[in-house]
């Protein structure tokens, strides 16, 4: 029994160390925006709200609602952190959202927006645009 406890303790300590290293991921804010955009075009409101900060939740849902009547897909989307503003990470994206209605495509350029991303409880969340 003592052996099992020692193994469990060691495993937990290793996991804690691993988690400490893992949380330093520099691409995390950009990844959060990519996930957010994917949830948006998939019209997955549950996922979208878990990727938005409290203040942005309503805006995110509003944005999703605007896509309800059209089919949407991402084209060449790639995001990268461009800088920081205090605790906020700024993320720029390339590519576009293609919204199709009645066989007619409308392209929404993603590069015109800078996404503001903040960290809450270890998770990066989209919290507005500039």
């Amino acid at each position: 029994m003592r052996k099992v406890l020692v193994i469990l303790l060691m495993a937990f300590v290793s996991a804690l160390l691993l988690s400490a290293c893992g949380s330093q991921n520099k691409n995390a804010p950009a990844k959060a925006v990519e996930d957010y955009l994917n949830a948006l075009v998939e019209k997955n409101s549950d996922r979208l709200t878990t990727l938005s900060c409290s203040d942005w939740e309503d805006d995110a849902l509003l944005e999703l609602d605007s896509f309800q009547a059209v089919t949407t897909k991402l084209d060449g989307m790639a995001c990268q952190q461009s800088g920081t503003d205090g605790d906020t990470a700024l993320v720029l994206c390339k590519g576009k959202i293609i919204a199709t209605y009645n066989n007619e495509d409308q392209e929404l350029d993603l590069s015109v927006r800078t996404y503001q991303v903040v960290q809450q409880n270890g998770d990066w969340l989209v919290c507005g645009t500039r």
């Binding site: 029994m1 099992v4 469990l8 495993a11 937990f12 996991a15 804690l16 691993l18 988690s19 290293c21 893992g22 949380s23 990844k31 997955n44 409101s45 549950d46 996922r47 709200t49 878990t50 409290s54 939740e57 309503d58 849902l61 809450q120 409880n121 270890g122 998770d123």
Partner: protein, 473 residues
């Protein structure tokens, strides 16, 4: 369960049965069931709840096993392995946030390890304290049953679910205005809770055999029956697990047929019927009596093919790993009376209610000498059906559905009794018997189909409007 999940379950079942024997089969079944409980859990708007809810299910499983097994059972090697599988996999799923670019088992990124660490510490302490108390007081089992019922009540009552969602959103500093009662969709909890209550009650009645943690946990979260049952019995399930099993060609063929039949019922017939089956929108749009009957019939068949299709898939997959799950549906719409319908519709649920509510409740009522038998039948049947209705959801329409069937069963019981005493030779006239049989089937089917009007719709006013249209009022 979607097609991908069903496909993966079939493949896993085949691999387990081909590659493993004896205890290893149990361990692998447990491992995949633990992974499945996370994988099948739908994404929720509450952050990381697709991780927390399955973790809580597993914590409840471990807790129930500890308080129902003999003191010191956790020291046995087999149980340590079982515990390590559960704990190890859950920890691994959480840690996957650090080494996988995207989550693969659960829908969203698992919570921070430190949060998981605190959760494990708190749950672990609770489990230790409750287990310590349970070996000194028999009240712990009653307490566990009450806790499970309480959780069910919260999840099944829209108002309480909404309050819980508001609470959790506030805890996460989220906007509470976006809270919804559907935020807490805890996958398979209705079935998990009923399996746990069955085990706890059997322990109270001293008729529960000793089960290892791996057997127990596999029984409760067995991946083929996690989403839609059937509700097996623990001792029967464990017997199958302990049997020396080798998959034969015949068994593979039979299981394959069953799975194929289930897939056809669910994804072809039920999904096609779903397009014209009764729902809130169609109920308001349909204007003619004829079309209203068509959408009610469509719903009656859709719910049957959907549910029995899932059961076929579950039974077939379980068969591949040597588990013979009980039947849940045996041609219920061809039964000549309501009692027989309920003996063949969602059979494992009705058997559960019969064992743990109807029979004990009737025994208790017999203690009152001034209650006449027919009143006893009325109270027993109405109360049981009411509870079955509430199990589906604590809403007014489910109460009406339960009452519909409760009173229906009572009237049918009295009618059968009356016919039996008044016309004892009725069975000798075969022609009349056939006519009554066909008439009974049609009457029972229509009674059940009309009952679905309460079940399928969210508002009783809407149900009333459908009834009016059905009868041209």
């Amino acid at each position: 369960m979607g097609l991908v999940q069903i496909g993966a379950s079939i493949l896993t079942a085949l691999l387990i049965s081909v590659l493993t024997r004896d205890l290893w089969r149990t361990y692998l079944l447990l491992a995949f069931s633990v992974l499945a409980i996370y994988w099948f859990q739908p994404l929720l708007p509450l952050r990381s709840f697709d991780f927390w809810l399955p973790s809580l299910s597993l914590a409840l499983v471990v807790l129930t096993w500890l308080i129902t097994s003999q003191s010191g059972a956790w020291r046995i090697r087999q149980n340590i392995i079982g515990f390590s599988i559960i704990f190890g996999l859950v920890t691994l799923i959480d840690l996957s946030r650090y080494f996988l670019p995207d989550p693969i088992i659960i829908a969203t990124t698992p919570p921070q390890f430190i949060q998981y660490f605190v959760f494990t510490l708190i749950i672990g302490l609770i489990i230790l304290v409750v287990t310590w108390i349970s070996h000194r007081s028999s009240w712990t089992i009653s307490g566990a049953i009450i806790l499970l019922i309480l959780l069910l009540v919260i999840l099944k009552t829209p108002e309480l679910s909404l309050k819980a969602s508001v609470f959790f959103r506030a805890l996460e500093n989220r906007q509470v205005e976006n809270a919804s009662f559907t935020d807490l969709r805890w996958l398979g909890f209705s079935y998990i809770a009923f399996r746990l209550i069955h085990v706890l009650r059997d322990k109270q009645m001293a008729r529960l055999p000793e089960l290892s943690l791996a057997e127990f946990a596999t029984y409760v979260v067995f991946f083929p029956s996690l989403v839609a049952g059937p509700i097996d019995r623990a001792e029967r399930f464990a017997q199958d697990l302990r049997k020396d099993f080798a998959l034969t060609q015949d068994e593979t063929l039979l299981a394959g047929q069953r799975i194929f039949l289930g897939l056809f019922k669910k994804f072809v017939i039920a999904d096609a019927l779903g397009l014209i089956a009764l729902n809130d929108t169609l109920a308001t749009q349909v204007r003619t009596t004829g079309w209203m009957w068509i959408i009610v019939y469509a719903y009656a068949f859709q719910i049957y093919f959907d549910f029995s299709g899932y059961t076929d898939i579950a039974i077939g997959i379980a068969q591949l790993v040597g588990i013979k799950l009980p039947e849940n549906f045996v041609a219920p719409y061809t039964k000549p009376n309501l009692t027989q319908f309920w003996n063949n519709w969602h059979m494992t649920l009705t058997q559960w209610f019969r064992s743990y509510f109807f029979n004990p409740f009737n025994r208790w009522m017999r203690g009152f000498r001034n209650i006449t038998p027919w009143i006893m039948i009325l109270i027993g049947q109405v109360a049981t059906m009411l509870l079955i209705g509430l199990w589906h959801g604590i809403t007014f329409n489910f109460i009406l559905w339960g009452l519909w069937h409760g009173f229906g069963l009572f009237i049918q019981n009295r009618w059968s009794d009356f016919i039996r005493t008044r016309y004892p030779n009725l069975g000798q006239n075969t022609r009349l018997q056939s006519i009554l049989q066909i008439g009974g089937i049609l009457l029972t089917f229509h009674f059940v189909a009309l009952g679905w009007v309460f079940f399928a719709l969210s508002e009783s006013l809407l149900s009333w409007q459908v009834f009016r249209k059905l009868f041209g009022l």
